[in-house]
Structure formats: structure tokens, C-alpha cells
Amino acid sequence: MSDVMTDRRPRAEHPGGTPLPVSLRQARLPRWTPAALALVSAALGTGIGLVGGLDSRIQWGLIAALLFIGGTFALAAGVEGARQAKDRLATSLVWIAFLLAVVPLASLLWETVARGTTVLDGFFLSHSMGTLPDALPGGGIYHAIIGTLEQVGLATLIAAPLGLLTAVYLVEYGRGRLAKVVTFFVDVMTGIPSIVAGLFILSVWILILGFGPSGFAGSMALAILMMPVVVRSTEEMLKLVPNELREASLALGVPKWRTILKVVLPTSIGGITTGVMLAIARITGETAPVLLLVWGAKTINGNPFEGAQQSLPLYVFQQWQQGSDASYDRAWSAALVLIAFVMILNLVARGIARWKAPKTGR
């Protein structure tokens, strides 16, 4: 490394007296340095942990992280100079923060996959619990899948058009007081806890109007939770559409509503769809309103407008409550299915966003 380290050239005198560097080249650490340092500090951290008899792995990790940060900073300061050292310090901090964020996620996924695959098979996916006692192995989640699909589908049918139209109003038409009021209420709705949305529908739909529990009652509560998310994300996407496109269309003598329909929405449809998909993913995991309004069931009920239904998150909750080994296994498997469902939704959303993104064609 000596050749890189001796790269300190003489400096020329600027006419004004301030020195200017002659060379734009500068000593750099080789590219593999951070990786090597990371390995070394991990090894040192483990070593110190073993020797010192520390029994918490977290302490090992902390020692390794501190060694890594200190090592990079010192090495960079010695070889590359102060500015680069600060740059590397910031980079290492960002990397460590990233690892800290990923570790829980990865371990959660690992745990769910490891425990969830024990009873996950074709039978599990295609059968309901029926009259099976909870302590016995067997049974499945078919009724919960049906329920979740129907409840989330209905909620989307209610919330997506409403949210979309609200966002179009706010971005394209909304001026003055009404727009401010609508924005305010959307903000308030964003903060509504799911249990409160459930209680609201419970009091209006079941207690006052006298309807029984049903998937649809749950859908209404889910729609309340979903709508502000759709409004917010759609609003952001519509704002991204350059004003010049709207003006180009208006200047062709196209009415405003057609401009919105044929120019503004197609330009932003990718982002809007992604937003809706993410909102669906968000409500799929809601348990509280389903517990209050759909009640849960052990058998298949395909009619979302009549009678209690099951849903995946509620199924997980109820199986966990049963507390037998067989029901624990079923809870983990259902949780895995739920995660997979949400993940697929996310992937589909990304696919649509990429597919529908305005093409540059160059």
C-alpha cells in the first residue's frame, strides 16, 4: 500500500497566495478495505466475547460494530484525510443502521417459515376447521382464506373508488375552504385506530341498525382504514404529473374532465395502483375490526353479507388463544400464508408500477 500512501505531491502557489493542489489524484484505500475490516471486527468481537465470557450475542455485535466504526475512521483518517474519514464514518453508521433494521425482519421471516411449514400442505389450504376440536391436529384455513379475500375485496371496492375520486378532487379541483376541510378529515382518518373504526361500525351497523355480524360489516370498517391511505398516495402521484401535460391537453381544446381521464390518470396509473395495493396489504392484517364485526367461524361461509365469517389474522389469533400444540402449528402456518399473501401483493404492485411507468423509449 506504500505507493498509494506516498501520493502527497507538492502544491503550487496560487497568485492570490492560497495553495492549489497540483494533482487531482488522491490516496485511496483499496475497495475491499471495508469488507475486510468488517470481517476482522466480527472476528474480534466474537473473540473478545468468548474470552471475556460475555453471554449476550448482542454485546458481541456491539463490540464488533464499535471496532468496525473506529477502525474505518482511524484507517481512513491516516490514509485518505479527514474529509474521507468523515465520509466513511457516515457510511459505516448507515450500514450498521441498515443491519439493525434488517435483523428483526429477517429473524421474523425465518421464525415464521421454520414453524409455519410444519402443517402447511394442500389439505391445510383446502379444508376448514369444521367440527374438529381445537386440541387435535388437522383442519385448515380454507374458510379463513375465503373470508379474507371477500372482506378485503369488498373493502377495496368501497375504498378505492372513493379514495381515488377524493384525491382527484383535491389535486385537480380543490380550491379554498372545502378542500382544506377534506384534507383535514383525511388527515384525521389516517390516525384512526383500527379498533375505533370497528367500534364505530359496530355501534351504527349492528347496535343501531340491528344487522348481524357479517363479512360486509368488517369490510366497511376496513374501508374506513383503507380510504385515507388511498387518498394520500393517489394525491402524491397526481401531484407528480407535470402541469405542462395538463396545459398541453387543455390547449388542444380538451375539456378538463377528459384531460384528467385520458392524460393525468394514465400518466400516474402505475403509482396509483401501487398505492392501492399497499393499502390492501395494510388492511389484510387487521384483526380488531374483524373480531368485533365478523366474529370468526369454524366452517365455510361463502356469503359475506350474511352470518359470521373467518379471516386469516383472526384465525391466527384464535388458534393461538387455544393454546394446544396443534393449534400453535396451525397459527404459525396461517401467519405464513398471510405474510405470503401480503408479499405477493407487494410484488404485484411493483410489477404494475414498472410496467405502467411512462416509457422514455430511448
Partner: protein, 258 residues
């Protein structure tokens, strides 16, 4: 086809700010009228009042009259959408629709206004692209996205899009400011051809361009920053560039300004 524009006592505002003050002028049919003047004197604003695009800006407001062959664009009951169909516009920055192909871009105005017959569209698209001197460059890639063209081609695409709906007046706001000399020449030639059919108004910062393409030239100026812009004079281009009647015009044109 082409129509005369008579403007009288026209002022335009952005909220409380008056951008242009009391402008009166006549734009002759089948001719090119150039607007010149320093930055911020309200040329774009004035141009946009001629097809009621000014009111699209939040807070935009107009006073005065714009007669298009005796019909007041700002009269009660006049539909701004119909006005914009009659008075087309080309913007400073090319703005093709990014989700549409070249063909669809040119057909956009027609389609969005309800013409859907395939053959009819095809003919009009070809005619407009030929009219904009772009046909030969794009005839093999009509299905490709319009944003994949070069800047100059995109600008001609936008001109094709504007003339496809057969307006009677064409407003152009610095259509060449982002283009190279060759594309600029192509568009200037095009303007020469288009004036046989349309009334053309063009804003430009390029004196030579104004002298080359226009029949009449209007000079705008503003007393001071923050003051509204005013029309100083409008006359035959030759006169404006050789022997203008106002000293400020001569100063501006010869570069002795401020």
C-alpha cells in the same frame, strides 16, 4: 379559415399582481406576428390570454376584450374549451404525452374530442406530421413513444399535434428556444408554410428570428421590475427593425438597453 384578432384594453392579473396593463392591438390573419421584449414583460402572459389559457393558472384573471373575427372570447357564454380548439398553442418546452406513441400524440386532440375513425385519423396524422416536417423522420416508428424523439423532433411533434385539430390561430411561445440551429431553421420554414393557412403569433427572444419569420412585430416593455408590462409599439417588421417610432424599441433591438 384564418381569423383576425382584435385586442382592446386587455389587462391580466396573477392574484393581486397585475402582469400586463391595457394592451390593444390587431393581429392580421394569414400572417406571422412576433412578440419581442425583455424577460418578465408579460409576453407569455399576453399570449395565454389569447386562448383563455391564462385562467388555468390559479388566481389568473383577465380584463378587457379579445375579438376573434368580431366574437369576444371573454364574452358571457363563451366556452373556453371551444376557444382553445380554435386557437391552438405550442409551448416553450416540448411536452409530448409520455404515455402515448407518436401516432397517438398527434391523434390526441382529435381522439380526445371524439373522432375515432381509424382511416380518418390515419390521414390526419400523416397530413399533420408532413405539415410539421416530421413525417420522413418518424414514419417507420409511429408506434414508438413520443418522448423517445430528440428535443427538436419533439417540438415538431407538438406542432403536428397542435395543427392536427385544425385551429385557426396558432400561438407559439418561444418554440425554438431549446433547439439547435438546424431544427430552428426547420421550424422557421414550417412557420413560413403554416402562415398560408393559419394566423400565427410567435414569442421570441431572437431578433434575427423575429426579423426572418414575421410580417409584423410587437415590442413589449415594462417600466420597472414589479410593474405591469405594456405594449410599446406594433408595426411592420421591416419598420420596427429599421426605423421604429419609439426610442426604447430601437435601444432594445440594437442592444443598447437599460
Amino acid at each position: 379559415m384564418a381569423k383576425r384578432i382584435d385586442v382592446s384594453g386587455l389587462s391580466a392579473y396573477y392574484g393581486g399582481h397585475k402582469a400586463i396593463d391595457d394592451i390593444s392591438m390587431t393581429v392580421e390573419p394569414r400572417s406571422v406576428t412576433a412578440f419581442i421584449g425583455p424577460s418578465g414583460c408579460g409576453k407569455s402572459t399576453f399570449l395565454r390570454t389569447l386562448n383563455r389559457m391564462h385562467e388555468v393558472t390559479p388566481g389568473g384573471r383577465v380584463e378587457g376584450k379579445v375579438l376573434l373575427d368580431d366574437e369576444n372570447l371573454y364574452g358571457s357564454g363563451v366556452d373556453p374549451v371551444a376557444v382553445r380548439r380554435t386557437v391552438g398553442m405550442v409551448f416553450q418546452r416540448p411536452n409530448p404525452f409520455p404515455t402515448m406513441s407518436i401516432f397517438d400524440n398527434v391523434a390526441a386532440g382529435l381522439r380526445l374530442n371524439g373522432t375515432h375513425k381509424k382511416n380518418e385519423l390515419k390521414d390526419i396524422v400523416e397530413k399533420s406530421l408532413r405539415g410539421a416536417n416530421l413525417w420522413n423522420e418518424v414514419k417507420d416508428r409511429l408506434g414508438k413513444p413520443g418522448s423517445g424523439l430528440s428535443g427538436g423532433q419533439q417540438q415538431r411533434l407538438c406542432i403536428a399535434r397542435a395543427i392536427a385539430v385544425e385551429p385557426q390561430v396558432l400561438l407559439m411561445d418561444e418554440p425554438c428556444s431549446a433547439l439547435d440551429p438546424i431544427s430552428t431553421l426547420a421550424i422557421e420554414d414550417l412557420i413560413g408554410e403554416l402562415k398560408e393557412r393559419f394566423t400565427i403569433v410567435i414569442v421570441t427572444h431572437n431578433m434575427q428570428q423575429a426579423a426572418r419569420v414575421s410580417d409584423r412585430t410587437a415590442f413589449f416593455n415594462l417600466a420597472a421590475v414589479g410593474q405591469p408590462g405594456k405594449l410599446v409599439e406594433i408595426d411592420e417588421t421591416e419598420r420596427i427593425f429599421s426605423n421604429p417610432s419609439v426610442q426604447a424599441t430601437e435601444d432594445y433591438i440594437s442592444g443598447r438597453f437599460g
